[in-house]
Amino acid sequence: MRRFIDIMLPLAVAALVLGFWQWAVTQWQVPVYVLPAPSAIAAAFVNNFSSLMAALTATFLITVAGFAGAVAAALALAILFSQSRLIERSLYPYAVILQVTPVVAIAPLILIWIGFEHITLALALLAGLIAFFPVLTSTMLGLKSVDFNLMDLARLYGASRWQRLWKVQLPSALPYLLSGMKTGGVIALIGEVTAEFVAGSGTATGLAWRITESSNRLEIATTFAALALLALLGVAIFAALSLLEWALLRRWHESALRA
């Protein structure tokens, strides 16, 4: 029953807001290039269905590729740091600098270096750059938060460095990695959209490009349709990562038991 209410209440709010929106736009005759009615947005969605879906697919694939690369790189670097304090101290400041520099500021350079003929690669790289840091820091924290007695025990039983990493450190860092991935996955999408905006109109790619293009032509209903898809994509990414977290931690981790 609680569950049912948890689903029904937000849906009721959505119905109310959309209903009011539809009514207000009609009642006050708001121009369609300022605020289209929900029905107009739905129509724009249907009329542009194939091109919107192509854009959604492009944005999704680029984001996922960038994010996957970021997770792999962050995990590898966090493991490297956990094995050598010297390497950590030498390289970590650069990881911080990379993060505090806004991705929008690096985007033009990346686009020029990689070139517009490889635009998807450039966009994926920018999405990955922004997702990289939260995954790195949380995985580093996880690898450091390992139970020291358990590590001692592994040493006592003659575990190699690799065995300690694989059997003890990585599993205990898993909740931290997954939490970093939830943050990283969502901001990878932000990075991808930002990069598409910077790449501009010459490069027909994903949803952000559709937003720029349709608003330039004052097809605001299409803009809204693309925006709605973008929001849905963000929700889907977060939901998928939450599901992954639940599936991997539900048997043993406190966070998955309370939820």
Binding site: D147, L150, D152, L153, A154, L156, A159, S172, E254, L257
Partner: protein, 241 residues
């Protein structure tokens, strides 16, 4: 089996944990290392296990280094793995074939009374049961020497007594050598054959008491007499001051 000779050990903050610590433990003996908190008895146990190296002095195994089982004060289990996988850890680390490792871990769990709980995760087990998994893990390695660092300190008295009796049974059945760190006079008086009383800052052995046999109960006159003897030694060493 173990011989510690003139051991000194400083903590990283340079306070001296142990000074001129020397004692021997013979094969199949049950020895308690008794002392107040902070007297360095856990440090001594880690030295015996080879997890720490002494600043000076030596830890020797005259007949070669035995297979060691270690039980911490906390159960120190892997929360992501079930009881069987936890008990199997030492064997997995030694690359035993999976089937053999599993069989030995099952047997060890059964011996500590956890038959039927092989697939339970640590969070599903009580404090006492978690400690039993921890003991099973130590047993699965088929140790000759069992090192326990205040293993029952965090448990309630009823559970503590039950686990103490189980430990005695396992010691007798397997012909183990046990070095048992504790701060409980009653526990050491009942369980061990010999009690090494340690004084703190820096820790060393203040008394080496061999207890008479025939302490066949926690409240038997012989056990009570042993308690008095150990308490007197602690008082004499100024440890209770």
């Amino acid at each position: 089996m173990i011989s510690l000779n003139g051991i000194a050990k400083h903590f990283p903050n340079s306070t001296q944990a142990l000074r001129d610590l020397s004692f021997k433990v013979s094969e199949k003996e049950f020895v308690s290392l008794l002392g107040p908190s902070g007297c360095g008895k856990s440090t001594a146990l880690r030295l015996v296990a080879g997890l720490l190296a002494p600043d000076s002095g030596s830890v020797q195994y005259p007949h070669g280094k035995p297979e060691i089982g270690f039980v911490f004060q906390e159960p120190t289990l892997m929360p992501w793995a079930d009881a069987l996988t936890n008990a199997r850890l030492p064997l997995d680390l030694k690359h035993l074939p999976r089937g053999e490792a599993e069989a030995r871990a099952m047997e060890a769990l059964a011996r500590v009374g956890l038959k039927g709980f092989e697939r339970a995760y640590p969070r599903e087990l009580s404090g006492g049961m978690k400690m039993r998994v921890s003991i099973a893990r130590a047993l699965a390695a088929h140790p000759q020497l069992l090192l326990l660092d205040e293993p029952f300190a965090a448990l309630d008295e009823i559970t503590r007594n039950a686990l103490g009796d189980d430990l005695l049974r396992l010691w007798r059945e397997d012909g183990l050598t046990v070095l048992f760190v504790t701060h409980s006079v009653s526990e050491s008086s009942y369980l061990s054959q010999r009690v090494l009383v340690m004084t703190p800052r820096p820790g060393h052995i203040a008394a080496d008491i061999t207890l008479p046999s025939g302490r066949d109960g926690r409240l038997s006159p012989a056990t009570i007499a042993a308690q008095r003897q150990i308490s007197d030694a602690l008082n004499g060493a100024g440890a209770l001051a």
